[in-house]
Amino acid sequence: MSTPPSPSPARWFRALRRTRLGEPCLKTYPLECVDLLRRARVAFQAGRTLKENFRLAQLEAVVRMLEEHECDFVDALGRDLHKPRFETVMSELLLVKNEALYAFSNLKKWMQPQHVERNLSTTLDECLVVNEPLGVVLIAGTWSSPVQMCLVPLVGAIAAGNCAIINPSECTSHTSELLHRLIPLYLDNECFHVILAGASDLPEVVELKFDHVFFTGNREEGNRIAQAAARTLTPVTLILGGKNPCYVDCQCDIATTAQRLAWARFHNAGQSLVAPDYILCHADVKARLVQALKCCLMQFYGPDPRESRSFGRMVNLEIFNRTRDMLWRSGKVAMGGQVIEAEKYIAPTILTDVAESDPIMQQDVFGPVLPVLTVNNEDEAIAFINKQEKPLCVYAYSNNSKVISRLMSETSSGSFCSNDSILQSLMVALPFGGVGASGTGSYHGRYSFDTFSHRKSCLLRGTRFECVTYLRYPPYEDRNLSLMTWASTLSQKSQGWCQIL
């Protein structure tokens, strides 16, 4: 392998910074990426990934990898995020396994061409839509759920017949190194590669030219990726975090609401793209909600969450500092608020008396801090939500189906869930993605397969029946035109469409 070029001053500085923060410096330089991309392209052009058997074998290998190395994943995520084993197994490993198994059992169906309704003139032809792989795709995951965010899209890319280069986040270095080590042991070595490029190097990698780029992360990074993709005319899927609002109505089951909210907000120490970011609570129930949340937190994590084996830590000092600053400069602490820098620990915290202009309302909360704002009714909540950028999720808790319906139809977001949180992003039958500032495109289940496929329209005709086709040829005659228009109107009535013959 050729020696990497000597780092530019900027790169040297970044590497130095990483060492200072105590993180490993293993990384893939752009030159290596060029070589890996070339190998993947050669493998794709040779047709390796096209056969159903190949794709099934790769999907099955993903499942095996997760099963055989469960302990390694639990360990790596424990080191990176202090993630409890329960969370790793349920929200990372099982999630990917389910997607892979779902793809495995549906692959044959998905790969079938779809026949479309024919019309008068094409009755003797075959009209179908064929699903084709795009080529070599780039998948870049973020650090909040490092395994899931790389492997779930990978499942879709494999199922659709592509080759892929995966870039797990540099922030969760133990997990990325584990993936870097394991993937070559299970998946085809020419078709699938893991690179360890930092977030700041990603735009450069994107410009090497892929057939699709799938990126999960925050808005600023998403913007840089979109601009790099624009320069190379590359289609992208962007799943971008944002502030997910949650409205709690005066008519709801407070105890259950608090439990579901607390679970959604504080698992993974709040580092989730789909957790409720802030609460818009009806003034009438605010005190009760805060009280109920306090009880839940006690119930979940005990009197000292630091001792709890069910609670995580911030991924690194940068995120820790950011969350702590937001916490200190916003609202009033109703519960929690303790921080310990050496452990990157922030206690599960509830903030009240939060103003719209507070720092915590100006950026995504990627930590275990839950601001609770007060509103007088659902109108105010809807107006508030619509003033912000479209988020990944909107949540609403209420017994009143009219209120729920209004929250759903008068706001826009990637997805919506009433009386619970996060679950809508876990169903394989539902597309998961953003809209507006929260991204473009979607995945999960069949939608992953579609994201990484091209739907090619095919019309297979014969050369017989020129006796009908000739009507459209020059020399143009009004008589022929009338005949064709007549046939058109005829078919409009019978719902079979006929354009040019």
């Binding site: 624009a230 876990l426 228009t485 040019i500």
Partner: protein
């Protein structure tokens, strides 16, 4: 006189007021759009003739009828497209409602092209209206007469609060793109697409790109040469070759070329007579600049002209021309031709032909003429393109059931029929839960215990459609 930004802001307020959401509103606008075309057919045909010398027959087929048909299809079906799509539930969500809503995106921008100035603007607009958006359309200034006609007619028929026409050239378009849109739909060239994408990426605006490409036409194996030649000539010289899905060049064996050229000559004579210049059924090149570009290509080509080659600068006329002895590095192979010039490249085998095609960028369409289904299937499976058609050209894009769009360098996204509606909609996943079964739910709560984990694993193990229940 409103500025562009004021127009966009005004449309955005209209969208926020919710006026475009009700089904009745959308139906009314679509019906009015249909009236607009039917009432003004004469004027439309005149404008198209002025811009491209488009014969009435071609204009009706490829501009008027195709749009009217799509409108009929949309009006008849958009209600069902608007309905929530319920999805299969699993054990834990049996008591819930899980569905996908199609929601409008907001204010969308559609940029048209000059080769089919009405179709390429109005067909996407049908989908955008049906999906409940406000729409800004920007017709191509190159097809000036149609541009001006559209700008006059649209405000007369459609709601001026929700739909606006913005006119101008490259400078005005650049300024327009500074505004934020919720989706941009662009038909045109790769170069311009790049700058549109860059402007769009600033606002994270999703884009549908319908770009051209060099659409290969492979003629191989046993084939009915006379029929193939007629269909090829029709597809190639329709609109004087100025179609993004026109067969750009032919690939065939030397033997096939020898029978193809006379067959093409015959078909051309059948269609346009002995003096194509005087035939009213042949269009003209859209502008002097494009005429110069095509003449330049012909001049720089090292191929041999075997049919046509005549031209008339004043009339922007180029005769239907066939060029042989063209190789991969020829001037005619360097860019999309977009004119009435057909190069024929010879290859020795199916393999070599497929390799040739795969060395180029992915085109918008790929054509194969053959009576041997094995040839067709091989090319279909081993190449990639936006669309594919065997034993004919162009017509695959007239079926509203088939999505029309590119892949790779020919773009992404698709439209026509229901696909237009989907292109301008957001698929929002919705889950409506109840309060029941909290005891089962509580399995996922901390404090985490191994026995809870085992339970959850067991419930999610058998063909799960939802992790974490």
């Amino acid at each position: 006189m409103e500025t562009q930004s004021q127009v966009v802001d005004r449309l955005r307020s209209a969208f926020h007021s919710g006026i475009t959401i009700p089904e009745q509103f959308r139906r009314t606008q679509l019906t009015k759009l249909m009236s607009m075309i039917k009432d003004n057919e004469e004027q439309i045909l005149n404008a198209l003739h002025k811009d491209l010398a488009k014969p009435k027959f071609e204009a009706i087929l490829s501009e008027v009828d195709i749009v009217i048909n799509d409108l009929h299809y949309a009006i008849a079906n958009f209600r069902s497209w608007m309905q929530p799509e319920y999805v299969s539930k699993n054990l834990a969500t049996k008591l819930d409602d899980c569905f996908i809503r199609r929601e409008p995106l907001g204010v969308v921008l559609i940029i048209g092209a000059w080769n089919y100035p009405l179709q390429l603007l109005i067909l996407p607009m049908v989908g955008a209206i049906a999906a409940g958006n406000c729409v800004v359309i920007k017709p191509s200034e190159v097809s000036a007469a149609t541009d001006s006609l559209i700008a006059e007619l649209i405000p007369k028929y459609l709601s001026q609060d929700c739909y606006a026409v913005v006119r101008g050239g490259a400078e005005e378009t650049k300024a327009l793109l500074q505004n934020r849109f919720d989706h941009i739909f662009y038909t045109g060239s790769q170069t311009v697409a790049r700058s549109i994408l860059q402007a769009a990426s600033v606002h994270l605006t999703p884009v549908t790109l319908e770009l051209g490409g060099k659409c290969p036409c492979f003629i191989y194996g046993r084939v009915n040469i006379a029929a193939a030649a007629h269909r090829l000539v029709w597809a190639k010289f329709f609109n004087a070759g100025q179609s993004c899905v026109a067969p750009d060049y032919v690939l065939c064996s030397p033997a096939t070329k020898d029978v193809l050229v006379p067959a093409l000559r015959e078909a051309l004579e059948d269609f346009y007579g002995k003096e194509p210049e005087t035939c009213p059924d042949l269009s003209r090149i859209v502008s002097p600049r494009h005429w110069m570009r095509l003449m330049e290509l012909l001049k720089r080509s090292s191929g041999k002209i075997v049919v046509g080659g005549e031209s008339n600068q004043e009339d922007k006329y180029i005769a239907p021309t066939v060029v042989v002895d063209v190789f991969e590095d020829d001037a005619l192979m360097k860019e999309e031709i977009f004119g009435p010039i057909l190069p024929i490249i010879t290859v020795d085998s199916l393999e070599k032909g497929i390799d040739f095609i795969n060395r180029q960028e992915k085109p918008l369409a790929l054509y194969v003429f053959s009576d041997e289904s094995s040839v067709i299937n091989t090319v279909l499976e081993r190449t990639s393109s936006g669309g594919f058609c065997s034993n004919d050209g162009i017509v695959h894009m007239t079926l509203p059931g088939l999505p029309f769009g590119g892949v790779g360098a020919s773009g992404w996204g698709s439209y026509h029929g229901r696909w237009s509606f989907e292109a301008f909609s957001h698929r929002r996943a919705c889950m409506m839960r109840g309060w029941a079964l909290e005891r089962i739910n509580s399995l996922r709560y901390p404090p985490y215990r191994d026995d809870k984990l085992s339970w959850l694993r067991w419930t999610t193990s058998a063909k799960s459609s939802c992790s974490l229940m």
